[in-house]
Symmetry: C2
Subunit: 272 residues, 2 copies
Amino acid sequence: MPFGNVSERLQQPPDVGVSVVILALGAPENEESRDASGDSKDRTGRLWLPLVRRVRQPFLGDWALPGGGLQCGISLEQAAFAALESTTDMHPRYLEQLYTFGDPKRSSGGLPMVSIVYWALVGSAEIRTCTEGGNVQWFPADELPALAFDHRGIIEYALWRLRNKIEYSTIAARFVGERFTLAQLRSVHEAVLGRSLDPANFRRHILGSGELEDTGTTVIQGRSRPASVYRYRRAETTSSLFSPSVDLAHARADGSRVSQSAMTNAHNKGVS
Amino acid sequence: MPFGNVSERLQQPPDVGVSVVILALGAPENEESRDASGDSKDRTGRLWLPLVRRVRQPFLGDWALPGGGLQCGISLEQAAFAALESTTDMHPRYLEQLYTFGDPKRSSGGLPMVSIVYWALVGSAEIRTCTEGGNVQWFPADELPALAFDHRGIIEYALWRLRNKIEYSTIAARFVGERFTLAQLRSVHEAVLGRSLDPANFRRHILGSGELEDTGTTVIQGRSRPASVYRYRRAETTSSLFSPSVDLAHARADGSRVSQSAMTNAHNKGVS
DNA sequence: GCAAAAGTGTTAAGTGTACACCCATGC
DNA sequence: GCATGGGTGTACACTTAACACTTTTGC
């Protein structure tokens, strides 16, 4: 790592790092903002994300996205994966590149910095096992604290991308378990979109896509009629160059796939 | 710029550069592949792009995307702008970030390399003024030569993105002049999409979007009824963080805007 | 029985597509 | 007049959204 004063550094290429916007429906329960967030229904009905408190200037004390530097020999996806694991101890169930930010003004007086930003989704089950370190804390996506650099805008962009993508892809499955009822899947869509959806039309739309299959079993949720349990069909193996969402199989110790191409869909309209 | 052998370099962060996929309908006429491309209608009916011949290993002699290194003090967009101007002497009429490629395998034996890739559109008028240097040559997008690194896949991705985006945004205007007939605009769509469109439905669709306004003048194209001349409305000034397409005003000597937010459109479905 | 949620059916409105048709010009 | 492309009208298929209705459970 080269050192030098600011004027020397301006002659060189800027630092390049990888950051991750990690999104989940809910947050760990061993966390401080519990008292402010109401009951557990309020938790799982909103999007939450972990942030890291900065321990140096600039933006000392503000909150920032988890991230790390670039290294040779590993891919950008693996770098994002590592940044996610080192801060939250969780495995993402979806990971895709968001955008690369490099405007000199974004560092606000610090040294120039290029950030290759990924966004990740983690399932509700993984959140419970999350160990919360001293400088890592979860926040509701709609009640963010003071953020360092341009990270607030980056998070807004990730949320916008999630809202768009949930309408034409199967990423909602990353928030729930392998088996789920249509009501559970619908509540995910409602939490992300921020509005209620017609259960009848949601059913027809999601089943009509052919992505789901009935497992044959039913579960009783409340004091109502039992609901059929569905799962996503396998063989979403149409991965191609036109689907930059990453296959993390090679990056995971257990070798399980966490991301099938989520968007070779013809309805996809390009990132932005 | 640090030097060292390969094993030393593997300890350090990889090199980071900016590359550009430059697309146009047509190519300069002072160019060698003229004899192979047929008449001028064949030229303007297809997408062309300029490539640079590599003069060093790896991939010596193959063709590659124009690009350059990163510098502090300028934005990524400005770096892409500079790479475009230095190779083709042209001003882009549209410029947007495509994707950042960083897989270690993509260098194929060379040193690890991260490429922040942009894609650009240039108008037909600018192409004629293009000076073609010795190592720069234009190729049809559907007849590419041997390409270095993973640049073929990058170009395919850019073309896929263009085909998607032309259906819900106004980027087709970047290929034509400020004033145009609906037939001219339709021929752009047909060239990009690779299929013919119903003139009546195209008219209704494009006029129904409210983006065009009639200039009141007409032109006679062939031996047919005169066609009304349209232009895009001004005040596409809803630029926001959700529209990463770049405003190049600050990067242009004449100060004219070349890109208004081309996609705060609700139909946008995220990049990929 | 009653409440609540699962699941089905129906209908009106909107959208995309194919194609028939008229209009204005050059020849 | 005739051919050509500009421009309008229209019918049909399909999708979307709203909502009434039936079914199956807990209480």
